[in-house]
Symmetry: C2
Subunit: 235 residues, 2 copies
DNA sequence: TTTTATAACTTGTATTTACAAGTTGTGTTG
DNA sequence: CAACACAACTTGTAAATACAAGTTATAAAA
């Protein structure tokens, strides 16, 4: 944990402070010179850390002014990089685990192509139903390869983002991905799960997320009730 | 045009070579040392240019290996930055202009907040219907402020991306944006335009794109028939 | 009072240098 | 022939330094 490169350590410090609200929207971060003095690194190294934060959308920079903290929901959401938790701009999103993480074989009709390593190692499967203001909004089905994840089946996922757990406990970061989006008529099951009104369509998403671990991808199928909420994203 | 920073010049050169196919998918770019020798700049400067290409998704890097060109469609599509033209993975997308670019006042019920400058200058309005394989798929309504755009109403938009025209003729680049997505039941008008089957929902998008010109945003409302196609995006 | 100039900040660009770490091909050694 | 070691590449991290360019507050001048 502590043999991270210097720029990365500063990045983690600043990231935490932004996410926990020490620095709030619109605040200026300490200047690059200040940071380099305080954390005893050169300005290029500080800049490297700040560039990473810019890439994350956590800050933006203005020449002559400083590094400015962006609004907290970030909404890097479902459309660019993070998990569903930040996608609707609501931080407290209750989660029901319909199917706890369990090891099984990959489905026959799996819509994505799998590498050999992924194929061999089997998959971890989980289903979740996520609520906004007591109403079910997201239903998601997730498949991940059963590698790098000791004891994942024992972990509690209640009210924690899958992505946070992967990040904190397994040092797995999402670095990219692809997705397909459609508007579809829900099946009866989906309609019941999401408490859909008759005739209400759902937003359907298929996603493949790439991580910093080779051969480790996260596959998700998501159904979203867009009657009262919309998927919001910045890029 | 020629007083760009050095790293930017190299970026433009490499970008063009990738987009025109001089470097193809999977190709290795010249090494950082080669580039710094050939273009007479230091390696940090070369790296700055390459980082920009990585951010664009045009290349990715692998330590010990090199900088590798990514697959050409990029699919930065509708979900991250470009226009609708690259979103379905189909390059030839026929376009009907239902409403030629015309100057008018901003609508009363415009869903986005406008700056004073935008408010004053009036807006350019256009509607398009875009086809994939002879079937209507996209219906989009666009509003842009009437600044920086001399003679835009006279230009032909047939089979050209609005974004290409803005980039080539007005040096306007999209640098970010936000969007909202929903699955909705179509109105009768939308149903007719997109040749929807009864009961077929549509994907609805509201987008606000930010450009390199201050106060110049592009506002789009998009209806997408996702029966046969899906919106595809990488990030 | 209003305007203008300036100084003191900020980030942006660029050079030079050094070593670490991952990849690959080419040897040598068993 | 196969396995290993190594050299020669690649990108990654980091230092120290310099000046350009944009922003802002302050002080001087109109």
């Amino acid at each position: 944990m502590e043999n991270l490169p210097q720029y990365r350590k500063l990045y983690e410090v600043l990231r935490k402070r932004i996410l926990t609200g020490v620095y709030q929207e619109g605040d200026l971060l300490p200047s690059e010179n200040e940071l380099s003095a305080v954390y005893e690194m050169t300005r290029p190294t500080v800049r490297h850390a700040l560039e990473t934060l810019v890439k994350d959308g956590l800050i933006f920079k203005k020449q002559g002014k400083g590094s400015i903290v962006r609004k907290p929901p970030q909404n890097i959401g479902i459309l660019s990089i993070a998990g569903t938790a930040s996608a609707v701009g609501v931080r407290y999103l209750k989660t029901d685990i319909l199917q706890k993480p369990a090891v099984q074989a990959w489905p026959e009709d799996f819509p994505f192509e799998l590498s050999e390593l992924e194929q061999e190692s089997g998959c971890i499967y989980m289903e979740r139903l996520r609520y906004v203001e007591e109403e079910p909004v997201f239903y998601d089905i997730n498949h991940l390869p059963n590698i790098y994840l000791p004891r994942i089946a024992q972990r509690s996922f209640e009210n924690k983002s899958l992505f946070e757990i992967l990040r904190q406990n397994y040092q797995i970061e999402i670095i990219g991905g692809e997705q397909k989006l459609k508007a579809v008529k829900p099946t009866v099951k989906i309609g019941q799960l999401l408490h859909l009104k008759p005739g209400q369509p759902v937003l359907y998403m298929e996603r493949k997320l790439t991580t910093n671990k080779e051969n480790f991808h996260i596959y998700s199928t998501i159904y979203f009730n867009s009657e009262k909420h919309a998927i919001f994203g910045t890029f």
